[in-house]
Symmetry: D2
Subunit: 338 residues, 4 copies
Amino acid sequence: MSVKVAVVGASGYAARELFRLLARHPHAELVAACSRESERPLVGDLHPTLRTIVPLQCEPFDADSVAKRAACAFLALPHGAAAAAAAPLLAKGVRVIDLSADYRLRDPNVYAQWYGASHQDVDNLKHAVYGQPEFFAEEIATAILIANPGCYPSSAQFGLAPLVAAGLIELDGIIVDSKSGVSGAGRSPKPNLHYPECNEAISAYSIGTHRHTPEIEQLLTDLAGSPVTVAFTPHLTPMDRGILSTIYARPKRPTPQKALVETYRDYYANKPFVRVVDELPSTKDVSGTNFCDIAVRVTPHYIVVVSCLDNLLKGAAGVAVQNFNLMFGFPETTALVG
Amino acid sequence: MSVKVAVVGASGYAARELFRLLARHPHAELVAACSRESERPLVGDLHPTLRTIVPLQCEPFDADSVAKRAACAFLALPHGAAAAAAAPLLAKGVRVIDLSADYRLRDPNVYAQWYGASHQDVDNLKHAVYGQPEFFAEEIATAILIANPGCYPSSAQFGLAPLVAAGLIELDGIIVDSKSGVSGAGRSPKPNLHYPECNEAISAYSIGTHRHTPEIEQLLTDLAGSPVTVAFTPHLTPMDRGILSTIYARPKRPTPQKALVETYRDYYANKPFVRVVDELPSTKDVSGTNFCDIAVRVTPHYIVVVSCLDNLLKGAAGVAVQNFNLMFGFPETTALVG
Amino acid sequence: MSVKVAVVGASGYAARELFRLLARHPHAELVAACSRESERPLVGDLHPTLRTIVPLQCEPFDADSVAKRAACAFLALPHGAAAAAAAPLLAKGVRVIDLSADYRLRDPNVYAQWYGASHQDVDNLKHAVYGQPEFFAEEIATAILIANPGCYPSSAQFGLAPLVAAGLIELDGIIVDSKSGVSGAGRSPKPNLHYPECNEAISAYSIGTHRHTPEIEQLLTDLAGSPVTVAFTPHLTPMDRGILSTIYARPKRPTPQKALVETYRDYYANKPFVRVVDELPSTKDVSGTNFCDIAVRVTPHYIVVVSCLDNLLKGAAGVAVQNFNLMFGFPETTALVG
Amino acid sequence: MSVKVAVVGASGYAARELFRLLARHPHAELVAACSRESERPLVGDLHPTLRTIVPLQCEPFDADSVAKRAACAFLALPHGAAAAAAAPLLAKGVRVIDLSADYRLRDPNVYAQWYGASHQDVDNLKHAVYGQPEFFAEEIATAILIANPGCYPSSAQFGLAPLVAAGLIELDGIIVDSKSGVSGAGRSPKPNLHYPECNEAISAYSIGTHRHTPEIEQLLTDLAGSPVTVAFTPHLTPMDRGILSTIYARPKRPTPQKALVETYRDYYANKPFVRVVDELPSTKDVSGTNFCDIAVRVTPHYIVVVSCLDNLLKGAAGVAVQNFNLMFGFPETTALVG
């Protein structure tokens, strides 16, 4: 059995990974790739690595046309544009997995505050499901609209969930110091992403103001049952892919190292894509995979958690396919291992 | 006027930078390069970039021989070995700038605790001067033994000094999350420093246990007049050089952003090598220089400081030459700008 | 239907990629991983990225034990050691895919000349099949011993085969200027592979003396029916993976650009892993894939060919699995696309 | 004694290196920095690394204004724009060092053919001196207009000059296979220079059509006294700086390796910035320096030369300052060593 799928927004890095994963998915049939390019390039022209793998020509997005052919659409569009595409697709019965931020924040006021524009699809926002499969597998299975999580938030949420769920830490001002590869900043050339500018250089940006902050807090607040606040600092790191978040949390009470590791192991038992490891992980351990690797350390002042994942896979296209698997009843790991 | 100098321990990266700086120093004359290599290589054989610049043959270290020729010795040796070389040199009247950790910690018990061996030269330890010129220029001018600071500690100390000196922050559990280029780990090949292992990868190490922790705390405690403790996490970053420390401190009271920047500017007025900048700095801004660039941000929970420097220059060889300049009465910036 | 396979020599990069590909291969069952480590690590201890994917414990190599369990063994061993393991496995009926150089050169004297030791398994050498599937698919299908090609040779052979087969170029002194990522040099730490030495650096090595030279020449001589000689220069390039070979051949007669491209397209029609492309390819287009991408340009003095592949996949583990597919009757692309 | 200098075109990488070198030059006084930016940024705003080192505000270019203040102008402008600025400066008596290609090719028809536009300043072109100090030191000393050489051409010219001067090689179709760091492509963001596109990737470009081809040929033809033609292939290499050219020349007659090296050593005796080395050099050996390192190897078919330099220094700003030193009677190495 095969599900017909479309990818809307074909030119970015997450789209490239989506195409690659879907091309090898035994139960997905890629029927449409939509992009704004007027000359209707082949997917392989946009992404030379996909030549001969995805022999599909791009087309302008048309909700009717997509709805006639596809049962599921992945949206790899900028926020704003995503909601504009999602609404008509949903209206025509297409299930949507949106990789943008448009449906991640439940409260449209919070969205407006962080994204600088009022939300354009409040109706669908109400029933959108936050597509973090390790927490919401059941809701995802029946969802028609998935808000695929952000890359930074995922690394923070996986690192902190066992702590907040178990009530082990103070919930205000948790520090999330994240280091991301440059692909996380997108494919549009910019001065600060020019090779000789960001090669051999690490820098912090958006200190205290990054839009992923409320997304991190929203899920953790749900898990904690009380408001959680984080101090989040992203860094641009000279590598293609990968996010490593170093997290500092103040323990409520002394917890031995060994028990803490057990708490994590128990929490993620039966979660095939979260690996609690003993040695401190490197982004390289998860690069090209859908894994999130986590290590935890008790230190004099803080519980320090290191959480890493591939921003384009577990942080974007990989989890999108994981959501797709859950939505359509395929084994969760289909096309995602190896 | 020219001072005759020796470099003891010629093969590492800090030694390479020392040679380079001393070769262009108008008032330093390099008279000896000591290394263990039995075949007595040229400095240019150890460091091809220095061919024709430093036409000196290495010799085994002999304190007498060095003392006959040099008024000042830079030690670029592992800890332990450094003290063993410093003691006889000092006894013969050579002024010593030690780039190792051997004389950085005033308390030999703290040294023993962190370095796993009792201190072998407690006598000289008593009069060693911590070679951080921005804080101890006067003591350095007359010192005969300089403990050249560690690379991570310098980035943390410059970032935090104005805050602790002004009493603006809580002094316990200050978080220093540091990202270092791989040259900071030395020149000996190791599995984790093998190119395909650390390229395209970032990872944390020695969480809560790194030896630079007490060095950071010692200076800040002096400046604060009360015990300061830090939670220090170093990271191995895929680049040659540079350290960026992201520092999280809890403010004692609200301080406006603008006033905070002024505090930093005032504190480092007349310090030519510390630049308080408005935009968040990149390690690339200081790579190849003796500068430490610092930016500071007030956020809801923390004062966040970003401090960066070149680990081999302001974090090692550059500050060593800066100390040399102060010790021998040359302008502080000689050979260090441009 | 599933074939039981063993990987002998588990710790290197090619082994890591073999494990990864075999773990996702629907018709391969990994039954043994052999390595010298006395503490019998898990494969995931050697390669953290494979944790939970390859839950296998390493064992010392024992031909009897492997032969009892596996129908096919992949040897990822140094040359010399490979022949020592292949012989007993073959004697016990195990089909062998050897990733070393031991069975690539037909003439044991040539082997001795380039590898500095006499060949230790001349008997099996006689019936070994050179595992370049684009040229020898039939022979591979029935082979019991495959000499898996070298990474540099594959890039040169794919780039030159259409030219020598069509008699379009002079056959002596063809220049192959190859640039390889550092993983091609293996996983053992060495001074020249230490991150701060080869990062931000490109250098040539083994000019005119690299062991892959006779392997390139042997296949091309077969295809040409006359002796082919190459001038081969490898370069160490600051990236993990990928080989790009820039090839300069003197045309025997003028050939228009368009006709030349057609010659290549015809030659590789029905070869799913060789892509003749119009735009000059980047190693990134093939990184992580089993493709070899080739572009060709007619210039005033030379036909210039650019050929690139992933040294660990199409240049090692990928083609090994491709050979495995052919040997055991599976579709050639199984586990190799996407 | 100090010469007042201006830098016209302040925002690129070569300009940044010019500023850095001139700031430390004991006999240069930087009096003007010209750029098109209407907001008149500080040089340190364009190049954060230069903050406090070059405390100069940019101004729009005005030939009169520059001529009133400066005796020498460095032009770091695109071709075309450079000639438009040079002509009025020369008319007002300013000596000009032009880093663009505008005055490198003696024949304006060749310029027109390769640069796609007719030359706009043929009058000055007639007396321009090609600023390769190792060959034209005398002419440079009295020149009023210097055509500063291109980065690729310099690496090729230094590698080939001893061979063509001694008549050792065939002069047609010499192969120059060059690998350049990305800074050579300039500072303007472009899709192919976006970090995630060129990181972990090497690719060839402009095969047989690169504009530096006639510049290489012109000088070598002069040195040979007969027409020299080259087949030049540049490659974009994932590193900031450095060019390594691998050169293949057909020997006219057998030349022993040792004699060949002596030929090179003799040729470059007394040339402080060209180092003939025994071991194959890496771009890292010359990165950040004004050196060109060269090694040569006799192989069965070709003499292979490896020549490397820092494209921004010996390939641009460094040689510009070297020319400045010669023009104004300062020691050739001033500000260029260490």
